[in-house]
């Protein structure tokens, strides 16, 4: 027999209580992993940002447009390798008008050059370029609606009212899983030549710039903004990371709330384990008195109590991770199919698994502090007087 044998036997002395506690820890770990995954994936927009990309938008708001002529003037800047532009189209699909997917009007020549992560088969790209009403559709979106090459798709405009019909010419996939695979891209010229108000004609929503040397990014951004400083439409140029962060931060309150809930889950878990260990220690006070009498020191009792707590949380944590992997990843497939614009992928990261495992052990230690301290302070004679 060893101390390990003793603490394992102690952990399952009241099997029903231990099983309930382990299940509670497992469910708490599942909830924690799920929330952390939501927050991680939401923040993945930051990891998707390329170091060599800048985004230029109207200084006042992204909702305000910039003259397309800026595109030509910005291209003359040294250190710029390519520029693309896009407009937020904001249309809905009438057959599923409650679902959301991103749809943009993009320039034919360069938009895909500034996003090398977006991969379109060359023959499909050529077909798209040749068709003024052509559209490139993300793989996930196409799969969701069962669209095939050559299909006609009609979207209902909200910013640009009316029904807009497109020909599905190409599908894209991505080399970076954090990039949305459910967007709908079409020719900017198709929008510009379409039935839109004159004040929206020859306007772009934002421009994306690739710089030759990422270390010169802020200098290029400064040069671009100063170029339009005295224009009516002043610009704000920032790194793609900062641009993405401005979107992410709009929902900061929600994700802060999720972080708070994660901490609350850990606290609840600590209390569940702490209660189980405390009950066990209270019930075994007499036995601890016997152990102390035969020569066990307070340190020995603490080792047994901390060990028992760690053992229970380790099993509960392992169980939680074991059930979290199939459940969260399975649910992730549903989210990727239906909320791909917000969550291009939804899977547990190894970092989250490691964090959950470490926190489970920290909870195990924290839960045992008070019971172990109580047991260590027991007077032997008082403990022996307690009923066994």
């Amino acid at each position: 027999m060893t101390y390990r044998t003793m603490l394992i036997k102690n952990a399952f002395r009241n099997r029903f209580r231990s099983i309930l506690t382990i299940t509670g820890i497992g469910v708490a770990i599942l909830a924690f992993v799920f929330l952390r995954t939501v927050v991680d994936v939401w923040n993945s927009g930051l990891t998707a940002a390329a170091e060599d990309r800048l985004v230029t938008r109207h200084k006042v708001s992204i909702t305000m447009l910039l003259p397309r002529t800026y595109y030509d003037r910005m291209g003359n800047q040294p250190n710029v390798s390519s520029i693309g532009y896009a407009n937020w189209f904001g249309a809905t699909y009438p057959k599923d008008e409650h679902s959301f997917f991103a749809n943009f009007a993009v320039d034919d020549d360069n938009y895909l050059n500034v996003y090398p992560e977006i991969v379109v088969p060359p023959d499909q790209l050529a077909a798209w370029k040749a068709d003024p009403a052509g559209a490139i559709v993300g793989q996930t979106l196409a799969a969701k609606y069962g669209w095939k090459l050559g299909d006609k798709v009609t979207l209902t405009g909200t910013i640009y009212p009316g029904d807009w019909t497109f020909n599905v010419c190409a599908f894209y996939t991505t080399t970076n899983r954090a990039i949305d695979k459910s967007s709908f891209l079409f020719h900017w010229k198709y929008l510009n030549d379409g039935p839109i108000s004159d004040r929206m004609r020859e306007q772009v929503g934002w421009l994306v710039i690739r710089v030759k040397d990422p270390s010169q990014g802020s200098a290029v951004a400064g040069a671009i903004d100063s170029m339009f400083e005295s224009s009516e439409a002043q610009t704000l140029t920032e790194s793609e990371r900062a641009f993405n962060l401005s979107f992410i931060s709009m929902y900061a309150a929600i994700f802060t709330a999720m972080d708070v809930v994660s901490v609350v889950i850990l606290l609840i878990m600590t209390m569940i384990v702490g209660n189980t260990i405390a009950m066990g220690v209270r019930e075994r006070t007499h036995e601890y008195g016997v152990l102390r009498a035969i020569g066990f020191t307070p340190r020995h009792l603490m080792v047994l109590i901390f060990g028992e707590s760690l053992f229970i949380t380790a099993i509960g944590g392992a169980l939680g991770l074991l059930i979290a992997l199939p459940i969260v990843n399975g649910f992730g497939k549903f989210i990727e199919d239906n909320l791909g614009s917000f969550f291009p992928y939804f899977a547990i990261s190894s970092g989250t698994v490691a964090l959950a495992a470490v926190l489970a052990l920290v909870v195990g230690l924290a839960s045992a502090v008070l019971p172990a301290w109580t047991a260590a302070r027991l007077q032997v004679t008082m403990a022996l007087r307690r009923l066994g």
Binding site: M1, T2, E287, V290, A293, I294, G295, F296, T297, L384
Partner: protein, 243 residues
């Protein structure tokens, strides 16, 4: 017959050295406090217990028997006076040193056996050996020997709930002697047993005293149990009445 290397002849030799006290108490006082009120339990005990003795401590409830036993066993600290056991002054020892000393010197037998219910008889007997540096196989050998002495070698894999009260107490005695202590303290060891089982336990204690030379201090209410001891002492209101 040997118990962890102590032969019967060695035990006899130990008994021959009985003139030398193994326990020496001088001016021993113990009081408990309820708020500011002092409740004296032991009131100036002077006592010498020779090595290899089998002494019974009797007295009415509340007379201080268990308190005296706890003090001699190093489980409690006196309010005043000195306790010297086996040449060691317990008053000057730290908690850790006292625990270590108890593990080496004292074997405990309790009224209600106090076995750990989730451990087998062998597991319970092995507990004190976890505090030593003995290898697993050495521990196993010692456990077997201790259980053989109490006649329960065949029951080593049984849990306490699978044993009778008498058998449980024999396992507790095996646990008390497995680390070869100098003194065995027994607090009402037959209090929860029927006459037959009580006699078996007392036979065992006598055997430990006579064959293995263990000094045994036993608290009891039972005159029949006290009769098995070589010396009977009476406590009343915290004072020793006679020897």
């Amino acid at each position: 017959m040997t118990l962890n290397g102590v032969s019967t002849s060695a035990a006899v030799a130990k008994q021959d050295a009985a003139a030398k006290p193994i326990v020496t108490l001088r001016g021993l006082k113990k009081s408990y406090y309820r708020g500011l009120i002092e409740l004296p339990v032991l009131d100036g005990i002077d006592l010498d217990i020779p090595s290899g003795a089998f002494e019974a401590l009797m007295g009415p409830s509340g007379s201080g028997k268990t308190t005296l036993l706890n003090l001699i066993a190093g489980l409690d600290r006196p309010t005043a006076g000195t306790i010297q056991v086996n040449g060691v002054n317990l008053s000057s020892m730290s908690e850790g040193a006292l625990a270590d000393w108890r593990a080496r010197t004292i074997g405990f037998v309790f009224q209600s056996y106090n076995l750990i219910p989730v451990l087998t008889a062998a597991g319970n007997v092995e507990l004190p050996l976890l505090l030593t540096k003995l290898s697993a196989s050495n521990r196993k050998d010692r456990v077997k020997t201790a259980l053989r002495i109490v006649g329960l070698e065949e029951r080593m894999g049984h849990l306490p709930r699978e044993l009778s009260g008498g058998q449980e107490q024999r396992v507790a005695i095996a646990r008390a002697i497995v680390s070869d202590p100098t003194i065995v303290v027994a607090d009402e060891p037959t209090g929860d047993l029927d006459r037959k089982s009580a006699d078996e336990i007392l036979d065992l204690l006598v055997k430990l005293n006579r064959e293995f030379g263990k000094t045994i201090l036993m608290v009891t209410h039972d005159p029949a149990a006290a009769d098995r001891a070589s010396v009977r002492r009476h406590l009343d209101k915290g004072r020793l009445l006679n020897s």
